[in-house]
């Protein structure tokens, strides 16, 4: 399959680009919700508009009312979300959440998918325990209790945790913390007794929650996939989240880069446009090269994931690491080349730097994925 968008994908990209620039722009969304100290950090009206555009259920099966699309299509949306720094629950709900639900029972899909597709339901993913992504170790436990389970433990940095109608939790149902087996995924409704939140605002103005589960009673129907065999589903959810975050980062990088080259073409010092200085030209050209490479490996990994390739996992980690490094370079160079105004809240370039930092931590930073690349390559 060629590494560029098909005609259908290009059409999707065109409509999403216009939609996100018009409705999801920085002033209208990110700054608005930040400056009004919104408890969710995103707008529910925009989430409804996502649904009207047909975006919320793009990864759900047609039989479930979705569009049966893949990660290339989801990536198109995420790149535009990144370019406009649009706050939305798309990645946790429509990408990771739906990927999990696609492996769930008819009951669970029937319970959650219609609301998601309608833009009324939000999901959050409770995977991380601690400040660094390390899903190989899961200590949060769900003990068997009667016909169901009793969930006890803590999850950290659950993005949209307090806004979510359901939290998908990766919990240990048997074995010790670092065992591969013995993990089970649960869809936990927000009103279940025993859930406690400590919500925190992050540097990019998104809201995350430190969630405590204090003997939360769950019945067997809330299990996604197999009891004790949740790693298979979790692995799909992680890949979806990682390639999704990587796609969003290419958008963040692209937005920051466009803003920066635009500035190089208008700002004058020493009687010249600063873009005339070769010191800046070479750095901008190098950055362009890194961004092109990152975009290429992201679409490659998306296609491999959609095609069920055995190389998908490796290439998803390559893409997440490469996108993170390239995006990081883009925002650092962006702020530096903007000079003093790059440090002001008035200019948007700093917002890109903040978002890059949050996306890099999400589902594993570049070092985490470099370690994975080494392991998957056998060294």
């Amino acid at each position: 399959m060629p590494l560029y968008h098909t005609e259908d994908q290009a059409m999707l990209a065109e409509s999403v680009t216009g939609f996100m620039a018009d409705e999801g722009g920085i002033k209208k969304q990110l700054r608005h919700w930040r400056d009004t100290n919104c408890k969710d950090g995103f707008g529910h009206a925009l989430w409804k508009q996502f649904a009207e555009m047909g975006l919320t259920g793009m990864l759900a099966a047609e039989a479930d009312g979705g569009l049966s699309m893949g990660h290339v299509e989801a990536g198109i949306v995420l790149a535009e979300i990144g370019r406009n720094l649009t706050p939305s629950p798309f990645l946790t709900t429509s990408v990771m959440g739906v990927t999990a639900l696609n492996e769930a029972s008819d009951d669970l899909r029937g319970r959650w998918l219609p609301g998601i597709i309608a833009g009324e339901t939000v999901l959050a993913m409770a995977i991380d325990e601690g400040a660094k992504h390390k899903p190989e170790k899961i200590a949060c436990r769900a003990e068997k209790a009667g016909n169901g389970f009793r969930l006890t433990g803590a999850k950290d940095f659950v993005i949209h945790g307090t806004s979510a109608d359901a939290i998908i939790v990766a919990a240990r149902t048997s074995g010790s913390d670092s065992d591969a087996d013995g993990v089970t995924l649960f869809a936990v409704p927000k009103d279940a007794a025993g859930i406690g939140h400590n919500a925190v605002r992050l540097v990019d103005s998104s809201i995350a929650s430190h969630v405590r589960f204090d003997g939360v009673e769950l019945d067997g129907s809330s299990v996604i996939g197999e009891v004790d065999g949740g790693r298979a589903v979790l692995s799909k959810v992680l890949s979806a989240g990682r390639i999704g975050a990587a796609a969003e980062q290419t958008g963040v990088a692209g937005g920051a880069f466009a803003m920066t080259t635009g500035y190089l073409k208008t700002r004058k010092q020493f009687g010249k446009l600063i873009g005339e200085f070769q010191a800046l030209q070479h750095r901008a050209a190098h950055l362009y090269s890194e961004l092109e490479i990152a975009e290429a490996v992201v679409i490659k990994a998306q296609q491999l994931l959609d095609g069920g390739s055995e190389r998908a996992e490796l290439m998803v980690s390559v893409a997440k690491a490469k996108a993170a490094r390239a995006c990081n370079l883009a925002v650092r160079e962006g702020v530096q080349m903007h000079g003093g105004v790059g440090m002001t809240d008035e200019y948007d370039i700093g917002l890109y730097m903040k978002r890059e930092r949050a996306l890099t931590e999400f589902m594993g930073d570049a070092n985490y994925h470099a370690e994975r690349v080494a392991q998957l390559s056998g060294y």
């Binding site: 060629p2 590494l3 560029y4 080259t261 190089l264 073409k265 010249k272 446009l273 873009g275 005339e276 070769q278 800046l280 030209q281 070479h282 901008a284 050209a285 190098h286 362009y288 090269s289 092109e292 490479i293 990152a294 290429a296 490996v297 679409i299 490659k300 990994a301 190389r311 490796l314 290439m315 390559v318 893409a319 690491a321 490469k322 490094r325 570049a366 994925h369 470099a370 370690e371 690349v373 080494a374 390559s377 056998g378 060294y379």
Partner: protein, 386 residues
């Protein structure tokens, strides 16, 4: 099965039936490469046989039209051919500057007679070409070149000197940039072809830091070149040269190999090293290498449908050569003092060190990294005054 899949099955079967076992082993060094040409000494019967069976089918230049020695494959079919070669571990049947550089330029700018004659010779591996571009005073600033062709009616008389002429001492013919109008810098250069055995042509190998001599100085002393041996229009050779440089940059960037999956991190376990810092560096490198391979694949896909920016080869050349230099720095580090051995049997005559040194030229030849960045800044980013 789709047409392309049927085609793939046919190609796979053909390679299986026709590629000699010896030609499915990895290329170890320069002397394993089949360059062809009047004076080429084949390393083995298998090397000759592989080139000839491929040439007979047009597979040495699969995407060239059949009348010019190719197989007339579509871009998608040519990609399948490369993928199947890689899958079988088969070596390229023939490598040459004729295939990579002159051929594409002739296809675009050559007359019908030139195409029929020269392209068929290239496809069959009969003529080995070299490139006469750089001069002692004209490196990055190539357009300032001074080698002059004086108009003598039905021929030119060429005088001057070229440098960094790859394999000039082994080549049969040269494609050469010659000034034919001293009053016009850009529109005063012509693109000429001539036989290296023409009286007045002499070559002198240049010994490099690697100890090898892949490049020569080439001298022209009253060399007679008939007028029909010009490619493109008189004084418009710079257009041909620029087009050809695009192909050269693509080639040096290593973008031509299709889907690449090779990583170098395993050298760590192969060499029995327990070095966490080096391991981390290797993993970072492998990420960049796999990502760049995807970029190369995307670039080729985009070229085929005209989606690639015309200046993109400059970016690919920059990124690919810088990456290759890093690859060899890491391989030297992983090899330790063994990799320093210059003549030993264990290192196949100092291959690691010589390759490492050779790669330093990658970001100089065919346009330096700095020139590539200049071109990207100007033509792609459209930065002011660049």
């Amino acid at each position: 099965m789709s047409e392309l899949e049927t085609f793939r099955a046919e190609i796979r079967a053909w390679i299986e039936a026709n590629c000699p076992e010896e030609m499915r082993r990895p290329v170890q060094g320069e002397d394993d490469i089949c360059w062809g040409g009047r004076n080429f000494v084949f390393k083995s019967a298998a090397q000759k046989q592989w080139m000839e069976v491929c040439a007979a089918k047009g597979y040495t230049v699969p995407d060239w039209p059949k009348p010019y020695g190719g197989a007339g494959m579509s871009p998608q079919e040519a990609k399948v051919w490369r993928e199947e070669l890689a899958r079988a571990g088969a070596r390229p049947p023939l490598s040459s500057f004729g295939i990579w550089m002159l051929g594409p330029a002739l296809l675009k700018f050559g007359t019908e007679e030139q195409k029929v004659l020269y392209l068929n010779q290239i496809a069959r591996g009969e003529i080995r070409w070299c490139q006469g571009y750089s001069e002692p005073g004209s490196g990055s600033d190539l357009v300032s070149l001074q080698t002059y062709g004086e108009d003598k009616g039905d021929h030119w008389v060429v005088n001057g000197q070229k440098i960094w002429t790859s394999y000039a001492d082994k080549a049969d013919w040269i494609f050469c940039l010659v000034r034919t109008d001293k009053t016009n810098v850009y529109q005063g250069i012509s693109f000429l072809l001539f036989d290296m055995t023409t009286p007045g042509v002499t070559t002198k190998p240049i010994k490099l830091i690697s100890g090898n001599s892949p490049f020569c100085e080439t001298f022209f002393d009253n060399v007679v070149v008939p007028k029909h041996q010009i490619v493109g229009q008189l004084n418009r050779g710079w257009d041909v040269a620029k087009y050809l440089l695009g192909h050269e940059r693509e080639m040096i960037s290593g973008a031509g190999g299709g889907e690449q999956t090779s990583t170098i991190g395993k050298v760590l376990t192969r060499n029995g090293l327990d070095d966490p810092m080096l391991r981390a560096e290797l993993a970072q490198f492998d990420i960049d290498a796999l990502a760049f391979a995807a970029c190369g694949e995307k670039f080729l896909d985009e070229i085929k449908v005209g989606k690639a920016h015309p200046a993109k080869p400059n970016m690919m050349k920059y990124a690919g050569t810088e990456l290759n230099k890093r690859r060899h720095e890491l391989l030297m580090a992983a090899g330790g003092s063994t990799a320093l051995e210059w003549e030993s049997e264990e290192t196949r005559g100092g291959a690691p060190a010589r390759s490492w040194l050779r790669t330093k030229a990658n970001s100089i030849e065919g346009g330096t990294s700095e020139v590539m960045l200049n071109v990207v800044a100007k033509r792609i980013l459209e930065l002011p005054g660049a």
